[in-house]
């Protein structure tokens, strides 16, 4: 009796497991398909992409396509700008965000409720509302169009990151900070030498998400840095899409160059990635 029911139980588990995989595997393949095709297209000559044959395996034309791309726009230069901007942005934004999160987690101060309300309020406020005045201010009033400052500074404000860091700091045992305080350590040193080192995993998650956001940012760089030579890589690539005489193999090679580094980072640091997104670190 018992052995019989044990067999049927494990059979039931096996059955459910098979159904699960039968459902999930095709879905996963569909989901991987666009990425796979991106890679395949990037390795095919243009006359191969626009041929009636079904091609599902990579060819060997990647470097030629990069050459085609580079002839259409200075993509390598744009990648350089994107990397520099993303690195600078990430560093500044992590500092700014964690300082603000620390202030909200550790201190009581006049206007705290107001600051928290503002941050929560802006989570659901569409970016569109600030876009036009931001553009007018940066381009017309500050005359900063087509500069790095224009790319880096306006997007520094983010609300979910601050909430994430506030949460991270308030989950640390506050006795640690009290102990340092009793020892006469100044608050900014407590922040730098006690709080930040303890927040390292959270900072990693935050930094990855912020870097990704900057790397992929499209609308704002499209508007503010539209001059050739000042464009970020996504903007430079975007200018080619929709042109009539353009190398699609080149565009796909560009797409791969934008995507592959992030995929590698994602695979290596999946834990931090997932933590950052799960905490709603950024939209």
């Amino acid at each position: 009796m018992t052995s019989h029911s044990r067999v049927s139980r494990s059979q039931a588990r096996l059955g459910r497991s098979i159904v699960l995989h039968l459902f999930l595997t095709p879905l996963a393949l569909v989901w991987l398909f666009p990425l796979w095709m991106m890679v395949v297209f990037s390795t095919m000559p243009d006359n191969g992409i626009f041929s009636p044959d079904i091609e599902l395996l990579p060819h060997g034309n990647f470097l030629d396509n990069v050459g085609n791309l580079q002839r259409g726009t200075n993509f390598i230069g744009a990648i350089g700008i994107s990397v520099s901007v993303a690195v600078t942005y990430t560093f500044l934004s992590v500092m700014l965000t964690s300082m603000a999160g620390w202030a909200l987690a550790r201190y009581n101060f006049f206007g705290k409720g107001m600051v928290v309300a503002i941050i929560f309020g802006t989570i659901t406020l569409p970016y569109a509302v600030v876009l036009i005045p931001q553009f007018i201010m940066v381009a017309r009033d500050f005359k900063l169009a087509n500069t790095w400052v224009a790319l880096i500074v306006p997007p520094l404000f983010n609300s979910l990151g601050v909430l994430f860091m506030r949460q991270s700091f308030s989950m640390m045992p506050h006795e640690l900070f009290d102990a340092a305080k009793v020892e006469g350590v100044k608050e900014w040193r407590i922040f730098l030498f006690v709080a930040l080192p303890l927040a390292r995993p959270m900072l990693a998650a935050l930094a990855i998400i912020l870097f990704l956001a900057s790397w992929n940012n499209y609308l704002w760089p499209l508007l503010i840095n539209s001059k050739p030579g000042a464009m970020t890589a996504p903007v430079a690539l975007g200018t080619l899409i929709g042109l009539t005489k353009v190398s699609w193999g080149g565009i796909m090679a560009g797409a791969v160059m934008l995507t592959a580094p992030m995929l590698v980072v994602f695979v290596l640091l999946q834990r931090h990635f997932v933590a950052g997104i799960a905490a709603g670190a950024i939209k």
Partner: protein
């Protein structure tokens, strides 16, 4: 409690400075600009100029209709799919979990431009891989980008592909925070797995589902890149033009900032309404 105003504001200063310059002032400014006629310099105060135009502008209602249509179809489909992904990824029976996670989560890191390009190429009429595959199983080609309905479908598929995994990550974290013993207790009470999903998982997950839905709605409401790049500036003939795209055209192509601001504030109004619905949906039962 002890108030430490000086210390706190020293830490907050850079953040609040950026906020004031690049958010607080623009929020106000945007509102002011929406009441100005901005097509001739100098701008002048004309309260009904833009808002009056908005009410009677077929292009605006077309964009509003398209945006709402995408919202109503794409967001529920994506959230349901994300819930399914999260629940199945959380199953203890799953093998090769890492591979499945990669498949569903990878789109999260793909930039809008890169994936727009791929989708555009995949859905090409004559040489797109999708039509080739349809033909190979005996189905006719679909002219994806010259008819409104398939063009909308491509936009929705693209957005769903890009963001379903993102929502699944958030939902999966929510699932993992539900204590195992709740399910063990239910199993001992002979509650079936399916019923456990509907009577335990979904109710406990509800605040997170609503959070995902609101973020998705607000994201989709501002949809810009996909109709800009995939369907070629909202084509065919404005059939996939969204509010985001209309705002871009009015503001940055026609440089009609006043009208664009009015459109922006309409979007803000919608967002506030949706947030209020969220608060109402997730309120604590008395």
């Amino acid at each position: 409690m002890r108030y430490q105003n000086a210390t706190a504001y020293r830490f907050l200063a850079p953040y609040l400075l950026i906020f004031s310059i690049f958010w607080l002032w623009p929020i106000i400014d945007s509102f002011l600009i929406s009441f100005q006629a901005t097509r001739t310099v100098p701008w002048r105060f004309a309260p009904t100029f833009n808002w009056g135009r908005l009410i009677g502008d077929p292009a605006f209602f077309n964009a509003l209709k398209n945006t709402l249509l995408i919202l109503v179809i794409q967001v529920p489909v994506m959230i349901s799919l994300a819930i399914v992904m999260a629940v199945l990824l959380n199953s203890p029976l799953l093998k090769a979990r890492g591979l499945f996670r990669f498949a569903f989560f990878a789109p999260v890191v793909v930039g809008e431009v890169a994936y727009s390009a791929v989708f555009r190429l995949m859905f090409n009429l004559d040489y797109g891989i999708i039509n080739k595959l349809l033909n190979s199983i005996g189905l006719p080609s679909v002219d994806w980008f010259t008819n409104v309905t398939p063009a909308m479908a491509v936009i929705m598929m693209a957005v769903t592909w890009r963001w379903a995994g993102y929502n699944a990550i958030i939902l999966l974290a929510g699932l993992q925070s539900i204590p195992e013993d709740v399910y063990e207790a239910a199993t001992l009470d002979r509650v079936s797995k399916v019923k456990q999903f509907f009577y335990i998982t979904l109710p406990l997950l509800k605040p997170i589902i609503v959070f995902c839905a609101v973020l998705s709605i607000i994201g989709t409401m501002q949809l810009f890149t996909e109709p800009f790049l995939i369907t070629e500036r909202g084509g065919p003939g404005g059939g996939t033009e969204t509010l985001g795209l209309l705002l871009y055209r009015q503001g940055f192509r026609s440089l009609n900032f006043g009208y664009a601001s009015a459109i922006a504030y309409t979007m803000a109004g919608l967002a506030i309404a949706i947030s209020l619905v969220q608060i109402w949906l997730t309120r604590e039962p008395k």
